[in-house]
């Protein structure tokens, strides 16, 4: 049988020859972009006009314009920025302590059988308890409220980093270790040049998940045990029936969570450059 020759595809000329600006615009204003704008816009419109239109449930919310107005007021108040400051301090502190303790604990558990057998039962008993459930005991246990909030944030990020570190270090391809051994590695080379870098991507994954849980925990802990912070401000706004202010706090916390995960991502591509795509 004679196979027909493959038709030569000519690159279409004319319409594709565009200026850089037009090409840039064409890349941004795609169908996907239009649909996104449409859906967000529709939600915004429904929200704004829910009260005059009498849409059930949504009419209980303050309209979008009210929220914009409230956020202008809130953004110029010292209370709000102090909230940011406290929450950020707690997140940073709790998260960093969780990494500083969790990564070494995970590595030791992965590399030493005896320590794994000793610590793993404790981890498995304590880990399923949601960090929020620790709040009352934490208040009793720690001398100050500040420390108890910090502890809850710590717990939120701790288990996940321990588990990810163990998983990463225990699942290193044994042939990497064999190759390294044959090439003359000493135990210290094995740790610093093979096991640790091989575990870094799992640690970063643990961090990315951990920072999300840490934000959940700081909000919950501040609502219950705090005297300051965004979570506290959110709950106080609800108590005084300032719902617009509540929503501004919610959006702020969402924004903070987003920025934190982006920072972890940047950190990840810095410490594990071989994984960049």
């Amino acid at each position: 049988m004679i196979t027909p020759p493959i038709p030569v595809q000519m690159a279409p000329s004319g319409p594709t020859a565009r200026t850089p600006l037009r090409r840039w615009l064409a890349r941004i204003f795609t169908m996907e972009f239009a649909l996104g704008v449409l859906s967000v816009g529709a939600v915004g419109l429904i929200w704004e006009y829910a009260q005059p239109m009498g849409i059930p449930f949504i009419e209980n919310l303050p309209p979008l314009s009210k929220i914009a107005q409230t956020s202008r007021q809130l953004l110029s108040s010292q209370l709000y920025w102090e909230g940011w400051q406290y929450s950020l301090q707690r997140i940073t502190g709790g998260f960093l302590i969780a990494q500083a303790v969790g990564i070494p604990v995970g590595l030791i558990m992965a590399m030493n059988r005896a320590s794994f057998e000793t610590l793993f039962p404790i981890v498995e008993i304590l880990r399923p308890i949601p960090p929020v459930a620790w709040i009352p005991i934490s208040i009793v246990f720690w001398p100050t409220r500040e420390l108890s909030v910090l502890f809850i944030v710590f717990l939120g990020a701790f288990w996940i980093v321990v588990l990810n570190t163990i998983g990463g270090a225990a699942n290193i391809d044994p042939n990497y270790k064999r190759a390294a051994l044959s090439l003359g590695s000493k135990p210290s080379d094995m740790f610093w040049r093979i096991i640790l870098p091989a575990t870094v991507p799992s640690i970063v994954t643990g961090m990315a998940v951990g920072i999300g849980i840490a934000w959940e925990m700081v909000v919950a802990a501040e609502m219950v045990a705090g005297r300051t912070g965004l979570g506290y401000l959110l709950w106080q706004s609800f108590e005084i029936n300032a719902i617009a202010q509540c929503i501004v706090c919610m959006i702020s916390i969402g924004f903070a969570g987003f920025v934190s995960s982006q920072l972890i991502r940047i950190f990840g591509s810095y410490v594990a450059p071989w994984q960049r795509r």
């Binding site: 090439l183 040049r193 450059p273």
Partner: protein
């Protein structure tokens, strides 16, 4: 003093090597009564049906595992663990993904504490394997063939007594595979490097080998040793010679029976090999 004591044998000797996994209740023998010599300066090729225990043999010779009974000696010394005398080129790439190509090749010299003196040599070796422009890339940015060459460089910089190659070209496409075979011949013919090469490809085996060790179905033992006295330097042109065809049909007849047995024992890998061999026999 017996006469064998002062005469140090060169190369690697396997003497009645047996490897068994498991305990007294449940055990599986993967290598049984294996004896052969990896001669100094020669290209020895191990070939046998898939899953017959070739990788286990490599692990034993490299020193990653200890034989249940029997002895493995390298230049007359008993093998007790991994050293850089015997370096393995693994089936799958084991270039460390977190190091650049240069850092990978430098790894051996670095941990051996001779990084500074080895650097010019590393640079030279990288250009010898054609990767001088890729020294700062990470392994996952390289093609399969380039990764193999980088790994070869990482191994060769340590000047191993014996190079153990465990199906190094598996998973490469046919074209790259052929290029790598020719590349390997170019690099090692006349170099005096002692090599043990493991493969399931009969053409590849005969093309490369000075000595062909045909293995049995699992547990692996030596079925026959064939000397391949085809002239060197070789190239893929030898595929057309009559001597090549003779060697191939002889080796195939033995391997075919072994593969059939492991097929009967339910090995899927072996079933594939039987099928492949049958197709090849039917081909003119």
């Amino acid at each position: 003093m017996s006469p064998t004591d002062w005469k140090v044998e060169k190369g690697v000797t396997l003497d009645g090597v047996k490897k068994q996994f498991g305990d007294e209740f449940v055990s599986k023998t993967v290598v049984r009564d294996c004896s052969f010599v990896i001669e100094d300066g020669k290209f020895t090729v191990l070939i046998g049906p898939s899953g017959c225990g070739k990788t286990s043999l490599i692990n034993l010779i490299a020193g990653y595992e200890q034989p249940t009974s029997g002895k493995i000696k390298c230049d007359g010394k008993l093998v007790t663990g991994p050293t850089r005398d015997r370096l393995v080129l693994f089936q799958e790439t084991t270039l460390f993904p977190w190091m650049t190509i240069f850092e990978n090749v430098m790894y051996g010299p670095r941990v051996q504490g001779r990084a500074a003196s080895a650097e010019p040599e590393v640079v030279a070796l990288l250009s010898k394997v054609g990767l001088q422009d890729f020294r700062d890339k990470y392994p996952n940015q390289l093609s399969g063939g380039m990764q193999r060459r980088a790994e070869l460089a990482r191994t060769l910089i340590n000047k191993p007594r014996v190079l153990l190659m465990d199906e190094p070209f598996r998973g490469l496409d046919a074209m790259t595979r052929q290029l790598m075979q020719e590349y390997l011949l170019n690099l090692f013919e006349g170099s005096g490097q002692t090599i043990l090469f493991v493969t399931t490809e009969i053409d590849e085996a005969i093309l490369l080998a000075d000595k062909l060790v045909l293995l049995s179905n699992a547990p692996a033992s030596v079925r026959e040793i064939v000397n391949v006295e085809l002239p060197r330097p070789r190239s893929s042109k030898i595929f057309a010679t009559g001597r090549f065809a003779e060697l191939k049909s002889h080796a195939l007849s033995i391997l075919y029976n072994e593969a059939l047995q492991s097929f009967a024992a339910g090995s899927r890998a072996a079933a594939e090999m039987v099928q492949a061999l049958e197709t090849r026999r039917r081909a003119p």
